[in-house]
């Protein structure tokens, strides 16, 4: 009996265990089914998609930003690519513009027209499944009339112009302005005089820049003075050229200087010649002129690159008095080493004012100095503010 009772009891326990296992299995199945249902729902789409006109452009770009899909991040890394879909109507059809990798939350569409309206969808995909964002738009690219990011450049230029014109105005009232002595420019007449005494020509090299380079413009201004002196002293002038436009301008300037000096007959059209627009070909040609014609004075003024030392050293070996000038930082040490006088940076630009002593030009040079003072004040202010942890000034002045 007891045995039977025990047997019944064992049977009862067995049934309850079976029920418990069944419940666990059912729960597992239900849970599994739930999971499968989540997967079938697909990926989480990108959120908060915004399409905007790209500011400060010519109407050729639209900017898209979005928040990453919940399946693209540290928690889940299912998204592999975001597809950018575009249409000119909200109802579509949407066409793929570009794909960007997972983790990217912005895109700039530069293939747009400022006459059309655009709608966008950002689609997250893992290669098999995909999830679309809501349709955003319409947005039309706009051509802007002012680049607001460049106000920080416009204001200093305007300020500098005002200072410059203030000094020019002062000069028109006959106020005497002082410019410090520049040895290299004082030596210009001395060099021309020496070449005249030696009966040798003057060699003027305007560098390898074109007429869009301020250094070349400054060089041509000095050429005018040198050519006039050469005409007055009846000394030959040789001017080899690298750039075709500089060549034609130089021809006009030199001829005009001979006319100004009252010696139009002394102008030799062959004195201003074109050599080549090849950098080292030009260096070889000028070196050849130095060796064959043995100039008494050499002017190397303008924009120079690697050929600077080749020219200056060859000139040095001929024994000519050499005056060089450039604003190219890398070439200045070569000129300082190999030439008798060097116009460093701004001195080259001050040359036309210094040599002519024309009040208007002198005044603009004074304005230039005031601009430097302004920059010095800004640097000191910047240093003080940065030290105090105030970054507004340096941030505003940063060119974007």
């Amino acid at each position: 009996m007891l045995r039977v009772t025990q047997g019944e009891s064992e049977v009862t326990v067995g049934r309850e265990r079976l029920r418990a296992v069944s419940i666990v299995v059912c729960l597992a199945v239900v849970a599994g089914a739930g999971s499968a249902k989540t997967q079938e729902a697909g990926l989480a789409p990108p959120r908060s998609v915004r399409a905007e006109d790209q500011p400060n452009d010519d109407g050729s770009a639209l900017s898209l930003t979005w928040q990453l899909s919940l399946d693209d991040g540290e928690r889940a890394q299912l998204v592999t690519v975001y597809r950018i879909l575009r249409a000119t109507d909200a109802a579509g059809p949407f066409e793929e513009v570009r794909s960007v990798g997972a983790g990217t939350d912005r895109f700039m569409d530069t293939d747009v027209s400022d006459t059309l309206r655009y709608f966008y969808i950002v689609q997250a995909t893992d290669g098999i499944r995909s999830a679309d964002s809501e349709v955003v738009g319409p947005v039309t690219p706009a051509s802007n009339w002012f680049h607001t990011g460049r106000v920080n450049i416009l204001i200093p230029i305007a300020l500098f112009s005002i200072i410059l014109f203030y000094f020019v105005w002062k000069a028109t009232r006959g106020i005497d302005l002082f410019i410090r002595r520049i040895a290299g420019l004082n030596a210009v007449d001395e060099a021309i005089g020496r070449a005249t005494e030696m009966g040798r020509p003057i060699l003027f090299v305007p560098g390898i820049g074109d007429m869009s380079y301020p250094q070349t413009i400054a060089s041509v201004s000095i050429l005018r003075r040198v050519a006039r002196r050469a005409a007055e002293y009846d000394t030959a002038l040789v001017m080899p050229n690298y750039d075709p436009i500089v060549f034609t301008v130089a021809q006009e300037v030199v001829q005009g200087s001979y006319v100004d000096a009252g010696r139009p007959d002394a102008f030799n059209p062959e004195s201003v010649r074109f050599l080549t627009s090849d950098q080292f070909g030009f260096a070889a040609g000028v070196d050849g002129i130095m060796q064959r014609e043995r100039p008494g004075a050499i002017f190397l003024l303008g924009y120079f690159m690697a050929e600077s030392l080749i020219l200056a050293e060859t000139g040095y070996s001929t024994g000519a008095i050499q005056i060089a000038g450039t604003a190219e930082l890398a070439q200045l040490p070569f000129f300082v080493t190999a030439c008798d006088y060097t116009l460093i940076g701004e001195e080259l630009y001050a040359a036309s004012a210094y040599l002519s002593r024309e009040p208007m030009l002198v005044a603009s040079t004074k304005g230039q100095d005031s601009g430097k003072l302004l920059i010095m004040i800004l640097i000191i202010m910047g240093v003080v503010l940065e030290t105090l942890g105030i970054t507004n000034l340096t941030t505003w002045l940063t060119v974007r």
Binding site: D58, G59, D114, S143, N144, W145, F146, H147, R150, I153, I157, F160, V168, D210, Q215, I217, A218, V220, S221, I222, P244, I245, F247, T248, E252, V253, G256, S257, V259, D260, R273, F274, L275, F280, G281, A284, R292, A306, E307, L309, I310, A312, E313, A327, L329, P333, V336, A338, I344, G345, E346, Y349, A350, S352, M360, L361, S364, G367, G371, K372
Partner: protein
């Protein structure tokens, strides 16, 4: 009138090109592109004049049998050969023009560039003669920087590269930036002088 018209053109085109930097509008940018194409056309015309000048100047010297006229013959032959091959067969790879460029021009360019090594040696020799206090300072700084840039400097004293970096980053950089700022203001001042017609050095005759 002879000066007024060019000055007006300089003012108008200068102001316009300055505005292009601040006005991104399509119409302005497109117009600036047209102006840049005009610049290319002017450059091409000037190149034609320049080539003509090169030919005439040297041909005259050959005809007059001036000193070193033999070099001019070489120049004229090279000029005409390159011109004719370029015009007749084009400038694509495998054409006679490219053969001249690859086998003559490029080795000659490389030779001229290589000459720099010798010129730097002779210039450095003169620069490093410690005749004055400033030259002695230059010599000392130059030696430290040169040693700091090569492995042996570190082997002599491990602080030499550190001192080199300091020289390049502070005194050298400060001087460079000072020159750059002055030069930039000079360039802006030159541009403004040209715009308002104060700077007329680029004109022939009395400006």
């Amino acid at each position: 009138m002879r000066k007024t018209v060019p000055l007006t053109i300089v003012f108008a085109s200068g102001i316009f090109m300055l505005a292009v930097f601040f006005v991104p509008h399509r119409r302005v940018q497109d117009t600036s592109q047209v102006l840049l194409e005009w610049d290319l056309v002017v450059w091409t015309c000037a190149l034609f004049l320049s080539g003509l000048n090169l030919f005439i100047v040297n041909a005259k010297k050959v005809r007059r049998k001036e000193r070193d006229w033999g070099y001019k013959v070489v120049l004229l032959v090279a000029f005409l050969t390159t011109l004719v091959t370029g015009l007749a067969w084009g400038v694509r790879a495998g054409t006679p023009f490219m053969f001249i460029y690859e086998s003559m021009m490029r080795p000659l360019q490389a030779t001229m560039f290589a000459l720099l090594a010798f010129f730097i040696s002779s210039a450095a020799y003169r620069a490093f003669r410690a005749r004055t206090r400033e030259a002695a300072l230059l010599l000392a700084a130059g030696l430290i920087v040169m040693l700091g840039r090569i492995p042996i400097g570190d082997m002599i004293w491990h602080r030499i590269p550190v001192i080199t970096d300091w020289i390049m980053s502070y005194p050298n950089m400060a001087a460079q930036r000072g020159i750059l700022m002055g030069a930039s203001l000079g360039a802006i001042a030159t541009a403004l002088r040209m715009l308002v017609g104060v700077e007329r050095g680029y004109f022939g005759g009395e400006g």
